[in-house]
Amino acid sequence: MIEVKDIYKSFDGTQILKGISTVFDKGKTNLIIGQSGSGKTVFLKCLLGLFNPDKGSISLDGKIYPQLTPREQRDLRQDMGMVFQGSALFDSMTVEGNVMFPLEMFTNKSRSEMQDRADFVLKRVNLDDAHKKYPSEISGGMQKRVAIARAIVMNPKYLFCDEPNSGLDPKTAIVIDNLIHEITLEYDITTVINTHDMNSVMEIGEKIIFLKNGIKEWEGTKKDIFKTDNEAVTNFVYSSELFKKVRQMYIEERN
């Protein structure tokens, strides 16, 4: 569980996060949504410990990042997996090398044990035949799967994803969303996803928080998002004609 209490963050005098508090539950897929510039990425980087909040605290199962010793911080980082927007795979390594990288860095496993673990996670993300390929030789969807495999190879307690399905076609985006959701349930991970994608919200959003100008404007579940009267949320979520019609149908059905 991740507990965020009243965090503030500014850069060069510009206040980016303005007193955000929330709780991300274990075993749930938590989504952060909001327009570009709303502070989503800064918020995610604060959760990851890459930025220290100016005020407030972030507790990961009772561990507050800035209060930890460097060794404790390193141990905590090994409990985190991150899927970047552009996958951030190491170009100079094969798919297998990318997945084995955290194991090589932080464990004393033998080569065959690392190989077995890499085979297992690659199979889990349905990538059986790309072990020896380089990131530039595989598709965007496959790169995302490798990034997920690398993020879960150390059995993390927390999984963070920044726009995991950006640049993917709708079908592949759903596959990636479902994969993250399944892994969250299977390994009982606290997953936090930054997204713009309303399909993701409707598919896997067990808890959603909406940020606007660095403030938490709204939070709820995917069911709540249909009912909410919050104008900022409805303007953001139902900005497309398709979603406007879906919402209309839902309201009519309810009445």
Binding site: R77, A88, F90, D91, M105, F106
Partner: protein
């Protein structure tokens, strides 16, 4: 003010490079990879340039000897002194700033742009140690290629001087051996080692702290070449004054 801030950031970067080392098993392979890329990969171009520059130095010297009173062995002497004192350590380092420096900046800069450095940091890896330290260690072998450049440069001078009819082989070799001061080689290697550190760290600094996209990677590589060259030239002056000045 910006320059001062950059010097401060550079100093902090150097400190970070030596903190929290990467596992030796991984570091060993990274160092070998960098030796292959930075040292072995530069050998060809440095040999090629050294040979022809040595030749040009010999021809220019011979053409400028107009007085009969000047001994013919001056061609070999001047070639040796120019190559050992300046060409091999300094001129080759400027060439390396272009070849190796821009490679280092663009490779680290691309890793920054594509969030690969963020990925390392999120995993708890000291990205500066992982990326920069192997380059510093690999470039400790830089004096070896400079020693080869010295040899090839003098050989180029001999080839141009003798085959071009500017000097006899005996005169040239006599000049090469004339008044040889071993400390000049030591001075050249001290300079080379310091330039090697500059070649590894300034381009890394420009790549690691760059902001923006692909266009900025190109700009960072150019800026890194300019600053690496400027620092090498300033250090060359200071080291010469310190080591050879009275």
């Amino acid at each position: 003010m910006n320059y001062l801030a950059s010097i401060g950031s550079y100093a902090i970067m150097i400190k970070e490079v030596f903190r929290k080392p990467t596992k030796w098993r991984i570091m060993k392979s990274l160092i070998l990879k960098e030796i292959d890329e930075l040292i072995y990969g530069s050998l060809g171009i440095l040999i090629f340039i050294s040979f022809f520059i040595g030749g040009v130095v010999a021809i220019q010297t011979a053409l400028n000897i107009t007085s009969e009173l000047i001994p013919k062995n001056l061609v070999g002497f001047a070639t040796r002194q120019s190559i050992i004192l300046e060409f091999a350590p300094t001129f080759c380092s400027i060439i390396m700033a272009g070849k190796v420096g821009s490679y280092i900046t663009s490779s680290i800069g691309t890793m920054r742009v594509t969030e690969q450095i963020d990925a390392l940091e999120v995993m708890g890896v000291n990205a500066l140690n992982y990326l920069v330290f192997p380059k510093i260690i690999a470039l400790l072998l830089y004096p070896f290629i400079i020693a080869i450049a010295m040899y090839v440069g003098i050989f180029g001078g001999w080839t141009a001087g003798v085959l071009g009819g500017f000097s006899t082989s005996a005169d040239f070799i006599e000049g090469v051996q004339l008044d040889f001061i071993p400390f000049h080689v030591t001075y050249a290697f001290i300079k080379t080692l310091i330039f090697a550190f500059v070649l590894a760290t300034i381009p890394s600094f420009h790549g690691f702290y760059m902001k923006g996209g692909a266009l900025e990677v190109g700009k960072a590589a150019t800026t890194s070449f300019v600053w690496t060259s400027v620092v090498i030239i300033i250090l060359n002056y200071i080291l010469t004054q310190l080591l050879l000045g009275q």
